[in-house]
């Protein structure tokens, strides 16, 4: 088919987190510009399977930019060259025929490589479990609009809640800091009345877990915001700092 591309891929191959990995070069021929990046890798993997070789492992699930499973550091940027997209939403038309594409896993001490391009992001789950929830009393179902919330506040909380937990912020940050993720998760509850009960213990617990997992600190470069596929804003990090410092300095007795 005309218009198809031939590409050179330099892919990080690593057996598991105990062994050292290295780049292996593959040819991806006859790639349609309409394929997604993951479909391109599927094609390469089919070729590898036919040759009896181990296919390239990479994370993926919904393939429509919702689940946050796909990752990949493509030519030096998380989720590739486009802004506001996940890797599954990245089309091969963003590349040109004959291009060399370097594909690496997310690099962070807190995200150990499971195999090849797949990394273990359960550190995010543990941070979420440390405080990213609200207590709900059992009993009758509350009325849907029983608690009045201004539209702007609801919108802001919703924007924070759009974080899909893909880890691109950690991957993009020169310090492998998870603060954009953690701040989005703290913000979505801090803004809403339902989140007030655990407000100050939440900020402390989630930040403590973030530090325990071995993520770096924020230097406010803004790389996370620029690379976030769903546009989580740096404002969230300022809010997290505010929540945490308020909790530590003034609200210690309210933390439980």
């Amino acid at each position: 088919m005309s218009g198809n591309m031939n590409l050179t891929l330099k892919v990080w191959r690593q057996k598991n987190d105990k062994t050292r990995g290295k780049f292996i070069t593959y040819q991806a021929n006859g790639i349609s510009p309409d394929m997604s990046f993951l479909e391109m890798l599927d094609v390469v993997n089919e070729g590898l399977v036919r040759k009896g070789e181990d296919p390239i492992h990479f994370d993926h699930d919904c393939r429509e930019g919702i689940c946050g499973m796909c990752s990949l550091h493509i030519n030096g940027r998380p989720h590739g060259p486009k802004q506001g997209t996940t890797t599954c939403q990245l089309h091969m038309r963003s590349f040109h025929d004959g291009q060399t594409i370097v594909i690496e896993p997310w690099r962070a001490a807190a995200f150990p490589v499971i195999k090849d391009l797949a990394v273990d992001r359960t550190a995010f789950d543990r941070i979420q479990q440390a405080g990213g929830y609200v207590n709900v009393n059992t009993g009758g179902v509350p009325d849907a609009n029983g608690i009045p919330i201004p539209k702007v506040v609801a919108d802001e909380a919703f924007e924070s809640a759009t974080c899909i937990g893909c880890g691109a912020c950690v991957a993009a940050c020169k310090n492998a800091s998870a603060m954009l993720f953690v701040s989005a998760k703290i913000s979505q509850y801090a803004l809403l009345p339902q989140g007030q009960t655990e407000r100050y213990s939440r900020a402390q617990a989630m930040v403590a877990q973030m530090d325990t997992e071995g993520f770096g600190s924020c230097t406010n470069t803004g790389a996370c915001e620029a690379e976030c596929p769903v546009g989580i804003k740096l404002t969230n990090i300022a809010r997290m700092n505010r929540e945490y410092l308020t909790a530590k300095l003034f609200k210690e007795e309210e933390a439980h």
């Binding site: 030096g76 940027r77 690496e104 962070a108 001490a109 800091s177 403590a208 600190s217 406010n220 803004g222």
Partner: protein
């Protein structure tokens, strides 16, 4: 929810220290620049030398100066601690990164800029602060005729000087002081030093363009109306006006004095 760590051992606590010491150092720059603008007076350095005596002998100023030295050291040490921690957070580096696509150069290189500034501060203090405190500067006597306000200056030898004195004798105000102004003139005739100062002020500019607004972000200050004001002050006042003011001094003395 689990018990959390002590504030200052947390990542955000360390950032708080960076932010507060950094902002304190910013306020120092304003005072330092305004004071040193007296170098531009055409008064044979009288105002500047009086000011230097005041700044080193007025107790509240001395107290603040110790806070200042502590801030410089703490800011540098915490920067080092955080940098080491941040490096450990990514033990395997990327083979390919494109930082320019998502962030500003200065925001990614605050450590390098800060190191330039630390080298500068050590050089700067050994040139002026150390020499002034260790009697390694010349001495001067000003005689100001109080009726005509005319001032004449004569250099004093070490024998003719014991300490800073100011008295009026027969309508003439006599001031004997350590001549830090002469030391400034002398130092800024060295083109290598002038170049170091100008380069360091460029580093200061880039450091503060990112650092000033970043300090407020770390403190959790974010506001639709006032955050743009802070960005403006960070760029135009701390990032541009102040470094230009400081850089003008070595340039002025090298070329025009």
């Amino acid at each position: 929810m689990s018990k959390s760590k002590h504030l200052l051992s947390s990542s955000l606590g360390k950032k708080l220290i960076m932010s507060l010491t950094g902002l304190f150092l910013c306020t120092f720059l304003i005072v330092h620049l305004i004071g040193n603008l007296q170098l531009f007076y055409h008064d044979q350095g009288k105002a500047f030398n009086d000011y230097a005596y005041f700044m080193t002998h007025f107790t509240p100023i001395k107290a603040v100066s110790y806070l200042l030295y502590a801030s410089i050291i703490i800011h540098a040490i915490y920067a080092l601690i955080l940098t080491i921690h941040n490096r450990k957070s990514r033990p395997v580096r990327y083979a390919m990164t494109n930082g320019a696509a998502n962030s500003a150069w200065n925001s990614r290189n605050m450590g390098i800029l800060g190191t330039v500034l630390l080298v500068f501060i050590v050089t700067h203090m050994s040139n002026f602060w150390w020499k002034y405190h260790n009697d390694d500067v010349p001495y001067i006597e000003y005689r100001t005729d109080l009726s005509t306000q005319e001032t004449t200056a004569t250099e004093l030898t070490a024998d003719g000087f014991s300490e800073y004195t100011k008295y009026t004798d027969n309508g003439v105000e006599i001031t004997k002081a350590r001549d830090l102004y002469r030391q400034v003139q002398f130092a800024f005739k060295n083109w290598g030093l002038v170049a170091l100062y100008v380069i360091s002020m460029a580093a200061l500019s880039f450091h503060l363009i990112h650092g000033f607004k970043s300090a407020f972000q770390t403190l959790g200050f974010d506001h639709k109306r006032y955050a743009p004001l802070i960005r403006f002050v960070g760029i135009w006042f701390f990032g541009i006006a102040i470094p230009i003011g400081f850089a003008a001094m070595p340039i002025y003395f090298y070329f025009f004095s």
